[in-house]
């Protein structure tokens, strides 16, 4: 049976969450802020995650250019209760992950890079 793109994306997100303990939610959104696929716990607003994730990445890209910091690699927001990790997936999509504060950041960065490569191959 041929898997849909949606199935493939969900599988990759699933693997990412399995490989990195403390990942609580993930979403792939288009650069215009619309959700393509997501694995979110109840109570997390999918529409807001999509809009804000894409906007944060876009502002970061723009800031990197304006302030001459070169190509932006990732955005990591640190809060009291955890992290928000955002990365480009090719030119048209964005990966957003909500992660607990007990995560090992090295593992998060490594797996995130692999996840983005897999997602890019699908999209």
């Amino acid at each position: 049976m041929v898997e849909t793109i949606s199935d493939q994306l969900n599988y990759v997100l699933d693997q990412f969450e399995t490989n990195v303990p403390h990942v609580e939610a993930t979403a792939i959104v288009s650069t215009d802020g619309l959700v393509i696929a997501s694995r979110l716990p109840s109570g997390v607003d999918e529409e807001r995650i999509g809009a804000m994730g894409a906007a944060i990445l876009s502002i970061s890209h723009r800031s990197g250019e304006e302030l001459e910091r070169g190509e932006m690699k990732r955005v990591l927001i640190e809060g009291d209760q955890g992290y928000i990790m955002i990365r480009s997936v090719g030119v048209d999509a964005v990966l957003v992950a909500l992660v607990g504060n007990r995560v090992k950041l090295g593992m998060l960065f490594y797996e995130c890079k692999r996840c983005v490569e897999r997602l890019s191959a699908i999209l």
Binding site: T31, D32, G33, A55, R62
Partner: protein
Amino acid sequence: MADIHKTVLERDLNPYHSFLASFFAGLAEMGMLNQGSINIVSKRAAEYLFAYLEAKDILPDLTQYAESPESERVEAVIDYLNSILSLMGGYHLEQTGPNQLALLIAGKQCRICPKGVGGAAIEGTFCPIPNFIESLVNRITGEETLDLITPGIEKEGSTCKAVYQLS
């Protein structure tokens, strides 16, 4: 500036159109607004406009449409909204399937387009109208009359299209 002058005259813009469209455009160019966020913001704006219409006691009277098809009631609300907000110079509602209604706006008829009027140099679509109309029609009719199917606006040639499911 020549193009802006042409757009102002061609689309018969008022000062608020220019302000809104260029304001949205500037925020989008800075990366602060995208289609996803303008969808959310549009719903919020619809709530405020509904409260405004209530406060002024100028909500449209829909009693004459009680026995009419849903599409006629929706058209009456959109006509009313456009008469007070002047969002579009013209538009067309088309039945696109069973219980589906498409709002079609010819490219040069939209007066608040962040790209066409506000000059936003961005990729993709960026339109506040589909979600704004959905939310406000639902508030005014008091039920979930419209459910937006398209993620925002879709381009068909030079026409912009939003498709809704009727309840």
